[in-house]
């Protein structure tokens, strides 16, 4: 479990690093929210506690590297984690198309949630109607990329889960005669 949590946290940090790198090179609309994609993928395929830790870590990390209030993106990542765990119980989110559709919706709701929280806590939204095309393009881009990210996170999670699996106990009933 600890190995899973550490590996997933490292993956989340790498996602943020890559996102920051892309932010310096590409227009804002073409920079996918890799932190969100990793958090969603982990919520679908990783054990619950490491995935929760990852969601909180990626959220606080994004808050740290951005002008948001501390905790703003962390709260949204936690809600995305809870929503994903709930929905993945009802639908097969481990499959590509349902996951991409879900990610599209979460990508849009995440940006709207960010605007709503900013408005609630600071009285000003970080973007207006002119930001909607960027919002949509980012959500579509995220939906297109999430199957690949999910494959990566799922593969990593499976590999680590095998290593972390507790040893099965074999019980012998010593009261029964052996012969």
């Amino acid at each position: 479990m600890i190995r899973s949590a550490l590996a997933l946290t490292a993956l989340g940090l790498a996602a943020l690093v890559l996102q920051g790198t892309l932010a310096a090179l590409l227009p804002p609309a073409l920079v996918p929210d890799l932190g969100l994609l990793v958090a969603l993928s982990a919520a679908v395929s990783a054990p619950a506690l490491p995935a929760l830790a990852l969601a909180a870590g990626v959220g606080f990390g994004a808050d740290l590297l951005s002008g948001t209030l501390l905790g703003q993106q962390a709260l949204l990542r936690l809600l995305a984690f809870a929503g994903t765990r709930f929905v993945s119980g009802q639908f097969h989110l481990e499959r590509g198309l349902p996951l991409a559709t879900f990610c599209l919706a979460v990508g849009m709701l995440d940006a709207l949630g960010l605007a709503g929280l900013s408005w609630l806590f600071t009285g000003a939204s970080p973007f207006g109607l002119e930001g909607l095309p960027t919002l949509v393009v980012r959500a579509v881009l995220g939906a297109a990329l999430v199957p690949f990210v999910h494959g990566l996170v799922g593969g990593l999670s499976e590999t680590l889960h095998e290593g972390d699996a507790p040893r099965r106990e074999v019980r012998f009933d010593t009261r029964r005669p052996v012969l």
Partner: protein, 304 residues
Amino acid sequence: MREFLIRLRLPLLFAMLVVLTLISMLADRRVLAGFGRERSFGGALLELAVPVQKALLFPIDFARESWSRYVALVGLHEENERLRARVSELEEQNLQYAEAIVASGHLAEIAEMREGFDVPLHSAQVVGHDVSPWFRSMLIDRGRVHEVRSGMPVVTDRGLVGLVTATSPHASRVMLLLDRQSAVDGMVQRSRARGIVRGTGTGNLEFTYMVRGDDVVPGDEVITSGVGGAHPKGIRVGRVLEVHADETSLLHTATLQPAVDFGRLEQVFVMLHRGPTMDLLYGGDGDLPAQTAAAPPAAGKGAP
């Protein structure tokens, strides 16, 4: 009881984290609203951000360097011959222009800017940009150890960049003029028409609350007015691109092109002085160095 806790550990942990995020947001908001002192509670995290952001810059620098060294130098030999001949020609010209470059070049502009302000300036390197496309801020590699405090203006030789909003011992976060939460009291240099320069979240600024009839035309330079005490008077903010004059409205707006090219910021200067408003907002002069706290209000370059 233990089994009960183990079974509920996930919901409990989730609830604790949600409460933690709400508390941290409220605390951050209180500090931003001026109820707190320095916004330094996230200082340790900000300290960690600088190496992370430097790590962010590393692949970019590496890619650029690789490009310039290997990819862009295809056909080097042919170009080299041509350049050798050109070098000897330019060396001669270089001698003649050397003095002119020193006098009118970038360094001279920086020197002139430093002399233009009565307050000391501290140079800082931009080490990172905002990872969210919805917010406009950046990290610089100077912090409280270097006497940088929240509320201090950040400038370049081109004009105003923004305001320091959070500090740690060795790093600070700067909210750019482009951020939608940014507002600066400005005036048109030519006609003295006053207004508020606001960030729009895009590449341009908005000059709002101009009274109908104010003399503002495209091409006018907008500078800080000094009112409010947040920024010294006379720092270039931007140039008027377009005036939106609605005849039915008492107040007009204009679109400004920022004086600073925010896409190419590498080096900035923190003005080691903050106005009385910012002092009140961020907790008086208790956390200011004595000499800067006692410094008189600054008069900026180009101030009329």
